[in-house]
Symmetry: D2
Subunit: 134 residues, 4 copies
Amino acid sequence: MSLYTHTFTVALHDTDAAGVLFFGHLLRHAHDAYEAMMADRGVSLARILAEGEVHLPIVHCEADYGAPIRHGDVVEIEVEPRRVGDTSFTLLYQFRVDGRPAASALTVHVSIDPARNSKSPLPNDVKLIFINAD
Amino acid sequence: MSLYTHTFTVALHDTDAAGVLFFGHLLRHAHDAYEAMMADRGVSLARILAEGEVHLPIVHCEADYGAPIRHGDVVEIEVEPRRVGDTSFTLLYQFRVDGRPAASALTVHVSIDPARNSKSPLPNDVKLIFINAD
Amino acid sequence: MSLYTHTFTVALHDTDAAGVLFFGHLLRHAHDAYEAMMADRGVSLARILAEGEVHLPIVHCEADYGAPIRHGDVVEIEVEPRRVGDTSFTLLYQFRVDGRPAASALTVHVSIDPARNSKSPLPNDVKLIFINAD
Amino acid sequence: MSLYTHTFTVALHDTDAAGVLFFGHLLRHAHDAYEAMMADRGVSLARILAEGEVHLPIVHCEADYGAPIRHGDVVEIEVEPRRVGDTSFTLLYQFRVDGRPAASALTVHVSIDPARNSKSPLPNDVKLIFINAD
């Protein structure tokens, strides 16, 4: 179940001297897709961070690289929910170039109460995104 | 005379612990605007680089920072040509948040023949972008 | 078995508006540690890429985040080999701040013959790094 | 008058598909040199930011690019003070590869009282760095 499709064009600064997307930048683009998906569902990550009542740090990430992604490629990132719990959620990102799978990434987020430095329930507006996705 | 308006939303990774856009990332976004403007006019910087007959390296850049640019801000970059010559061109980038000027940047590009490592005339399709802008 | 310890200080641009190292930048620092380890063992990744006879792209990466890593923190990255084969190798990176574990990362590299776009044996000087590590 | 020499090796992620340091990353390295210089003189930019009594944002920057800077190059950045005033200072960065000038950059910093959002005197420990430099 896709929550959102985020599209970007690979910029010169995304690439390295090997002529392809530097592997670490894939995670940056995954996070852009996550922020865009949240905004599309009416949730501002900037507002959540500024209010400071809850943090949603990433505690784990993974990425798999298939086809090379090159300068000028138009990349579509499909954002899908995985394993949504009371205090955490996992997102999967499918990267496609010209409709063909090129890479995937995964981020695991936990909900933290920064004042207590302990796990806290996911904010309702965030949880609703994933409930509605089912 | 504006060639193009490029829009982006300030991502978490654009900001730093001071809570605002890290100054160096402004130049990255200026370059994204430059690439998007070129693509909009039918010129692919990726193709120019891949063909390798001409390089358009930046030999000078500047930026001025006015209002802070924050996480989640929607930023418009107006790209304008300045001082277009036979072997070089200068672009000015006006950054606005909510319609108000927030920063500006400037890049000076020269046209180089990589085989001879010497200046070479601007490619016609690049020059036409600026001629049509007058 | 540690191959190398790479040390860096968390710069302002490494952090984000949440006040901590942006998760994606951890992979960039892991790659810096990989390049520094190779150079320390007499192998230049820049030379390998420039010669073009073999590429060592990353096909998988992972990272786990424990304690927050903050602006100004001095971070030590211990680079350890994992699962070294004929055409691939895996590296583990242990991140410590003030001697305490803060994060870990893992990269899987395959050896590719770019002319044939097929797997090729690891270059001898690269393989020797890992054999000597046993 | 040099305040500090900062050295770094150009990493793969510093380069782009044109095979050289992406121009915007030069400013990132200049800022690293600024932070390292401050730390060398006993001033922690991280502490200044965390205390929040004064901010030292960059209001202007410039860079000039001469020789290409490539993957694996060992770069020395000489940090020199320029135009130090009561509420601002300017730093010049000379980039050298193998002892030869390759690029230069310049940053102008102002001292701001974030509570009042107005200019404030430079912190004494910061000002002393530049007074001692004369």
